[in-house]
């Protein structure tokens, strides 16, 4: 299992289906899957660093890079962040999903 601790929040099945429709080869599909993974990851890390007090950034990233899958990272974040960690990360996931679908499907054009 290739796992990062926040994976449980993400279930972008529709996006995978859309990528399957537009990718012209398996290699292209795999590459797009990786680029989407990178995008989601940057957004998640950005979101965490935004909410986590500066003093704990280095400690968190050290823990995370040592064991990216570790469920204990949730406990760490719950202790150090005053807000509902799962809540704001879930919100971010929702935004990412919507934005990605918009990029893939394109914005519907308005006509008069």
């Amino acid at each position: 299992m290739s796992k990062v601790f926040y994976d449980k929040l993400i279930a972008f099945e529709k996006i995978e289906k859309e990528i399957g429709k537009i990718a012209e080869s398996k290699e292209e599909k795999d590459e797009l899957i990786r680029i989407v993974d990178e995008y989601i990851h940057h957004r998640m890390i950005g979101c965490i660093l935004e909410k986590l007090p500066k003093d704990h950034h280095e400690e968190f990233l050290t823990q995370f890079t040592e064991a990216p899958h570790h469920e204990g990272l949730w406990n760490y974040l719950r202790k150090k962040v005053s807000e509902d960690v799962e809540g704001f990360m879930q919100e971010e996931v929702y935004k990412i999903g919507r934005e990605l679908l918009e990029v893939i499907r394109g914005k519907p054009k308005k006509s008069s």
């Binding site: 299992m1 972008f12 080869s25 990786r34 823990q63 519907p108 006509s111």
Partner: protein, 318 residues
């Protein structure tokens, strides 16, 4: 009024996402200049992080850090034959012995509540249980190869196009329940099953019908041993066991996926999913092991192990 949006071309999407990633990365780096550059770079490299987590989980490493409590404890398991025997004994007081119930009860003793990579001990126990109850030789590690996880969530896949010009009608005929999923827009990871309809053998028909999807794209050595692994995994037989109801299928690997960000770890053809959980089954926890079948004797499709064995006294009483 709004017009339907035009689908994006794959190259345009690729470029757009790459630019977005670059901008995001720059923003994070600029905003958090107080952080050590190397540490931040490491934390943003998702490919390397996934590889690292695969290694840790595969090695059964529980806690590598000083602050984090162990993610999961591998509990000591009783011997697999004891687990099956206990389930059989409990069943013996009931008038009818159901192998499926024995399997479900045995799985409950071995498996953790939520899917996660299993330890070697857990996998060995399961191999023994499957051999005892399902009578199919299966292994978590076969010829040195092991999936990133053997216990995870399976999701419903579409039919795969078998040859150029293949249609749903020629694949599933009038069976409307199997039409629902439709046909995947692209080919499977190994391309067409045959170059033409004429070259499609009955074996290949079965291969597509009972196909499985595994995450070869995340195998840690996929990039270094690509050619060997691609051949090794092509149409490799796996046994998929629904851990909730004990339904089991032998399938052949014919595609790679799903993406890690789908919340799933395996995929099954419409026929596989139908047998594992019925027409509404879209996602569920399963164990996936390789079938040890060097002589190609194990057929693809459902494993019919649940023939009820009536005890001898039942016949006398009738």
């Amino acid at each position: 009024m709004s017009k339907t949006a035009q689908p994006i071309h794959s190259q345009v999407l690729r470029e757009k996402l790459k630019v977005k990633n670059l901008i995001l990365r720059q923003e994070i780096t600029l905003k958090h200049g107080h952080l050590n550059n190397d540490l931040l770079s490491k934390a943003l490299n998702i490919d390397k992080l996934r590889q690292h987590s695969t290694h840790l989980l595969g090695a059964g490493a529980l806690a590598g850090t000083f602050l984090l409590a162990p993610a999961h404890q591998v509990h000591a398991l009783p011997a697999p034959q004891d687990i099956v025997q206990r389930a059989r004994t409990q069943q013996a007081i009931a008038p009818v012995v159901s192998p499926q119930k024995i399997l479900i009860d045995s799985l409950k003793e071995v498996l953790p509540q939520k899917p996660r990579p299993l330890s070697r001990v857990e996998e060995k126990s399961l191999e023994q249980i499957f051999s005892d109850v399902l009578k199919v030789p299966s292994k978590a590690t076969l010829e040195g190869e092991h999936l990133n996880t053997t216990y995870g969530y399976i999701g419903a896949e579409q039919h795969l196009v078998r040859y150029p010009g293949d249609t749903m009608a020629s694949q599933v005929g009038n069976d409307k329940t199997l039409w629902k999923e439709g046909m995947a827009p692209g080919k499977g990871a190994w391309g067409y099953f045959a170059h033409s309809k004429a070259e499609l053998t009955p074996e290949l028909v079965e291969t597509e019908k009972w196909y499985a999807v595994v995450q070869t794209l995340y195998l840690p050595d996929w990039n270094t041993r690509t050619r060997y692994l691609r051949d090794w995994y092509k149409y490799r037989k796996v046994m998929i066991v629904n851990t909730q109801n004990g339904n089991a299928v032998v399938a052949s690997i014919a595609d790679s996926g799903p993406a890690a960000w789908t919340g799933k770890h395996f995929g099954g053809s419409p026929e596989v999913m139908m047998h594992l959980g019925g027409p509404r089954y879209k996602k569920g926890a399963v164990v996936v092991f390789f079938v040890d079948d060097p002589e190609n004797k194990v057929p693809l499709g459902p494993i019919e192990y649940n023939k009820i064995q009536l005890p001898e006294w039942a016949f006398h009483q009738v």
